[in-house]
Subunit: 947 residues, 2 copies
Amino acid sequence: MATANDDDVKIQMLKADGVAHEDIQEEPSGSEISEPIPGVKRKGRNLFFNDGKSRIDYILAWTRPEKEDENTEKAKKARDIFHHNLQEEGLQLELDDSDPEIRYMKVHATWEVLSRYGEILKIKMPLQETIVSADIQKKYSKWETLEEENPVKAVSVQIWTAITGLFKRFRAPFELDSSIVPPMAKKYTLAFSRDREYMFDMPINKDEFFTVSERCRIVDFILRRKSFGEDKNQAFSFGIKKMLADGFYSAAYPVHEGHWKAGSAMNSRKLLYDNWAHWSKFFKIQPLDHIRDYYGEKIGLYFAWLGFYTQMLVPASIMGLIIFIYGIAIMGDSYPSIEICDPKLNITMCPLCDFQCPYWKLQEACSHATASRIFDNNATLFFAIFMSLWGTLFLEFWKRKQAVIQYKWDMIDFIKEEEPPRPEYLAKLADTAKTKVNPITGLKEPHLPFWRRRFPTYLLSYSVMIFMASLAIAGVVGVIAYRVSTLAALNLLHDDGTVRSNSTIVKGTTEVIYKNASLVTTITAALINLALIIILNFIYSKIAFWLTDFECLRTQSEYDDSINIKLFALQFVNYYSSIIYIAFFKGRLVGRPGDYNMVFGARQEECEPGGCLIELCIQLAIIMAGKQIVQNNLIEIALPKLLKLAKRLYRRKFKKETAEQKANMAAWEKDYELSVAENTSLFQEYLEMVLQFGFLTIFVAAFPIGPLCCLLNNIIEIRFDALKFTTDLRRPVAEKTADIGIWFSVLYAISRIAVVSNAFIIALTSDFIPRLVYANTYSQDGSLVGYMNFSLSYFNTSDFDSRHKPPHWDEVQICRYRDYRNPPWVEEKYEYSQAYWHILAARFAFVVVFENVVIVITSLIAWLIPDVPSKLRKKIRREAYIASEIVIRTELMKARGQSPAGSLLDSIISKMSFPNLPSKDNGNNVSDLRKRGKAEITSVDDDNIDA
Amino acid sequence: MATANDDDVKIQMLKADGVAHEDIQEEPSGSEISEPIPGVKRKGRNLFFNDGKSRIDYILAWTRPEKEDENTEKAKKARDIFHHNLQEEGLQLELDDSDPEIRYMKVHATWEVLSRYGEILKIKMPLQETIVSADIQKKYSKWETLEEENPVKAVSVQIWTAITGLFKRFRAPFELDSSIVPPMAKKYTLAFSRDREYMFDMPINKDEFFTVSERCRIVDFILRRKSFGEDKNQAFSFGIKKMLADGFYSAAYPVHEGHWKAGSAMNSRKLLYDNWAHWSKFFKIQPLDHIRDYYGEKIGLYFAWLGFYTQMLVPASIMGLIIFIYGIAIMGDSYPSIEICDPKLNITMCPLCDFQCPYWKLQEACSHATASRIFDNNATLFFAIFMSLWGTLFLEFWKRKQAVIQYKWDMIDFIKEEEPPRPEYLAKLADTAKTKVNPITGLKEPHLPFWRRRFPTYLLSYSVMIFMASLAIAGVVGVIAYRVSTLAALNLLHDDGTVRSNSTIVKGTTEVIYKNASLVTTITAALINLALIIILNFIYSKIAFWLTDFECLRTQSEYDDSINIKLFALQFVNYYSSIIYIAFFKGRLVGRPGDYNMVFGARQEECEPGGCLIELCIQLAIIMAGKQIVQNNLIEIALPKLLKLAKRLYRRKFKKETAEQKANMAAWEKDYELSVAENTSLFQEYLEMVLQFGFLTIFVAAFPIGPLCCLLNNIIEIRFDALKFTTDLRRPVAEKTADIGIWFSVLYAISRIAVVSNAFIIALTSDFIPRLVYANTYSQDGSLVGYMNFSLSYFNTSDFDSRHKPPHWDEVQICRYRDYRNPPWVEEKYEYSQAYWHILAARFAFVVVFENVVIVITSLIAWLIPDVPSKLRKKIRREAYIASEIVIRTELMKARGQSPAGSLLDSIISKMSFPNLPSKDNGNNVSDLRKRGKAEITSVDDDNIDA
């Protein structure tokens, strides 16, 4: 596994012949810290101790103090105790103090330590091929071919082969070259045990048995659990994280495996860079097994999820694009927009604002209404249903995918270990006299009484949260005010107060601006909104972390959960509130001419005659695309790049660092300069994607090309993230996790909210229902002819309140406005008309039907699609059956006094990465069998199973 | 465990001194069948072999053939092979052929067999008290008392003690006397292992180590897996179930533990009879641990669930009763009913049927409308919300309860074993040439190709299902026809065609009948419905089993699932369709006078002026109560009792059986006469309860005393079921199951359907929304004055179609009908009025709001209530932590060359009934320690953990 750079050919050759390393396992553990040999400055990408044999598994770095004082003394003492404890545990240390500023302690785990902890951590290791393939794999294939042949079957098999062949050919361009990125087969694994070492697939050099990421995990496990204090009160002086927090170390990290740059020798990191992180591979399926191998299961699972999500976006994008193209195609020829654009109808509309605004002609809204048809047509309803089902299918298929990954990565019976308290928690409460014995670990820990400390902090924390959320809403209100005033100003700017007629020809830019007044306002407002969102976003993340620090939470996962909830809630409000306002509130409680509902003395915004949907669409497009471009690309990518460049320039200028010097840097020195791989960073990635999923599903009815935008963004996102992990971050410690955790529930909740939201958008925001009601009930011939007239009410201008009369109000007798109210000439004038109630009933009926039907269908889908693919389930059941069957037969044979010959295979299979299998060890028999060899076992097993 | 009857004092004493049994474990296995000793006819409740030592664990019975033929020869041969195989497995057999008709083979499992299979089946057995309490239990208490004292805490502890004390005192009358029914503490258990026998809580007599139900389970496990054929093709001649199906045995069962009748000596069965099944204990909490001990986890879990459900019904009943009483209290004083009952208004209503029916006066509907107010008031809305939340709370709390039970009964890591094919399946397909190797077990099995055999049977099966379901719907239609015609006939009977005025006084029964025409019709119709339902129910269960047999399903659980789905679907349609019709369809598509919608040439039913809700309520009451009385009590209880009585009379008369003979019967002979404990019977119990839960939640808005009825029914149900299990059925084999399976999902689905259904009942069926709309919009002063007038439309009788004119139609100019339509004097006469659309919009808006709000609240509740109580979770985590901690420390000590003294405790705790703990065995060390004793281990452990 450990590969060396090209300038270290010697080391590589030593490894290749497999001799030099052979004796590592016999080295005595707990040797003294190797003193650096003066003059021998082995630099460059060297991953070994000075002896050229012991692999560097971890680096502990601290800055050389400028002057000695009490603190540095304390730090030194803590480090000494810590190092001593590490050595006592069996780890080997070697100091590198060649750097003038930073000292590095190299940590190496010997075979003794690795094997001991491999057993404790129950690390699943692959079994010897000979044992596994001879007995189990062979049987699989035998069973599968034992089915009887018949002609119908043969034909169907042929067809099936043809289909899968086609599928494979279609898939081929997306797959990585298997000669460069070798596929990793699922290995039959067993929790490692030193007693049964002979069973495992042991390389000639034992040091290569555990993979590099497993070695790091083991060392990390030890580092996190060793004390660095003298007192028994362990919780306060416990673990590397606390030492980093106390500043006793400046960094602690495993080293990367090699150079990623072109021209370097091949290594795991370069393989990932070339085939995963490189732009040229943007359309390829990710090498997930390799990612897992290098970065561990947690990061592997994130990329598996992201890749799966991106793949699932493909059908949604195609469908969205079709809907969009259909919308453009039918845009011109619908009666509502024809009628709006028809100058012959010559409909005079009531003013859009009080006092200054004049009357206006309906056909001025023509372009707006026509564009609106792209999104507001019958296909939208279909697309909303489609996307609801898509959301469910996505989640259901992910469950299956996850099950397969869990099986392949041996995580079926994974359980999280008990977490220690966070170092920041301990540090903060170090002076608190109140301690309590933790009921689980039995360690003394500082205790925060609920009512006197916990409750006030929560109260404060959530009050601030609510305040911050209201800031976002205030921002939305501000933008509304901007929109209202701008629209009024634009109207005023253009017109001197007379009613505009068709013949009026106004020239110049003013005209252009005016013509698109509402469009300009909408777009600029959305851009202001976006700017506000990005600023607030920045503030929010600062505040969320600050508040969560303040809450003083005990464990890292409590802390993470708290941050998750805060950031998700704040960002949800931040991103979605303006959109929710436009989708569901804008233009709903406006009142009517002559009796507008005033808010703070101002009239509310109205929707255009084409409906609010087009505005919603613009808002969505700008915020969604803007977020992705500004947030993801500029802030996440361009900014770090710039910082890095600045840093390099600074160093070249002030430190006078030469290229030679740089090339001569040791691997750990180079890695020291990379950014820290924080464990919150993955959370940010998830959060971003979950918010995107929200945009995608909650408002999809208004923005059918949303999926396509997301797809394009994600294709870039995957490679950017990959690039970050391979080139910009220190190597993270491989963490294990069996699923995507809380995010699955959040996605589920979003998919449910989406159903309701889409129902409401179609029912309330789009003109779908009024058109339907008109065509079915009020229209003469079932067509939409006359719909525009139907949708506008009449207003007698003499009924204007004297305070709100527009300029020259008496030039027009009757103006029209968009609502369903009685005309002035009936008794109950301006009351809601029957059509209003009729349409309202239809709207709500639609919501009821849509919601319940979609929920029933999605529940059915979720119920019908099993969470674990039936093939995988069969596999697991089969293996479980073999295992338990062998136990019973072996036992019976023993009881009868026969030789319990199956017991080796028994103990192999029974512990083989499937949970809850019987664990029977017959120490004596195993060693017996070991001598006899494997051929015999296989034959006995055949008799046992096929009987 | 094995207790003997009072007439077997000798045996009991033998057991008590613990000597006679001591040597059983040393008995050689596989002895020949003990020949019955002639003349020594040991009868009575004797649970041992003739040697007085070997306990009878199972009985295999077959009838002595009347004449020898080929079949009896075949049966004899099969039995012989089977018996031989059982003996080879180590079971002991003894024949009892003293009965002239039936032969009994007594089966005894020796210690050797029990311990071997105890290990194979991973039966969790209690550890020695000394090991557990000294180390773990003690630590718990130490940790818990280590918290610091302070005065505030002291006060709060006092208050807490007072509250729990009060709660205990309140609970006391419901608890069983602990001196009679000793509570069973959770024991610390470990999967049994013969190598670690010394760790377990071994009684002096080893034979008493495994409980009786565990012994039965082990024997049953062996019986189910032994072959009785000579050929290798095992699947066809495999297991006791197939032998029973082939008629080679007439019965196979474990024996009950003693007499339950008064005066018998105490035994487990009598304890259950006295304290669980007896009527006098109907208000007591069930002795669940004892039930589990005797009947196994599956039956125990059913009663735990039933008991929990019944307890949860208490608050719902109280609330329902309050709502009901409130309804009665306000019944008289609401404007709608006052106005209906007011003779001064003198409103003439349009006829209720065509041709014959006359006009009628509104105040005739007075009583109906008044009664309707009991259920149709604002409290109903509150109650519907309350019951939706109740349903969620019930399911959430059940999850917690189940988690506690799983922990206490050691079922946390329970996994079902692989099932063999059903004997019926094999028997049916014995002649099919087509076989296939089962991919999981590797056995050859008959194979049904999907398209040629499976698909047609499914198609047929589900076609019949749909046909049967349509029968139920046809029944509903029939009842509607009955109701329509009866109402018409009653109207005709009373009246000669003139308009009845207030002054008309008609005397005699006709008047009474007429006065309550609609009530009588409703009630008789509901009774007919009930009769139809019960008849169909009977047919349905026959047909469901017949169809499922026909489907030829492979395993028992596939079969059970198929039956479950069929019966549930059919019964759902059967019980609910008439109710759904009344709740949601009746009177909705009636049309209007002069233009009725005709179905098969007849007018549809209308709702009374009081609304359909009262009718729904009556229907519910009759079907729900009727089902419970007729179905549960008459058919389930009275019928079997009668049959039993008839059987006894028959025997006394024809067989001349004397009381003495009866008393002299052996235990197995008596048990032979009991009914078979079928594994489908529990399913029937669940189905019944789930349907009840459906009634309770889906239609609760219309029937607030529903919960009370269910509560009363269930209190009886528990004791009836208990009685059945203790006295009427053979002892069932203890089965294990970790949860209530599919039923939880069904309950969840019902609780969701209930939310939608209640929203619709309140919105559409009750008058809640029209009243609300009237009061808020159309009323002059916000009161309901004039509501009755508002809710009736006008009809000009001259507009009657000539074909539908009532007799003497011209006596009245204007009649009224219940709808919201325009009066005859406006332009669009008889079209839906604005009020109609307004109310309809309000109705649907209510559904949307109710549904979403309730679903959000219930989801929140479900999310906030953790599935596992935090105390239990802490316990599990604590135990897991200790276990893994000890492993690490022990390993390190070993690595340092120190004595690995903790390893005994380690291996104890690590395997202690918590899943996924490390399983480390150090064979040598364990045996070392065993010699050294336990005191030392304890001390070492102290150092290890508290460091």
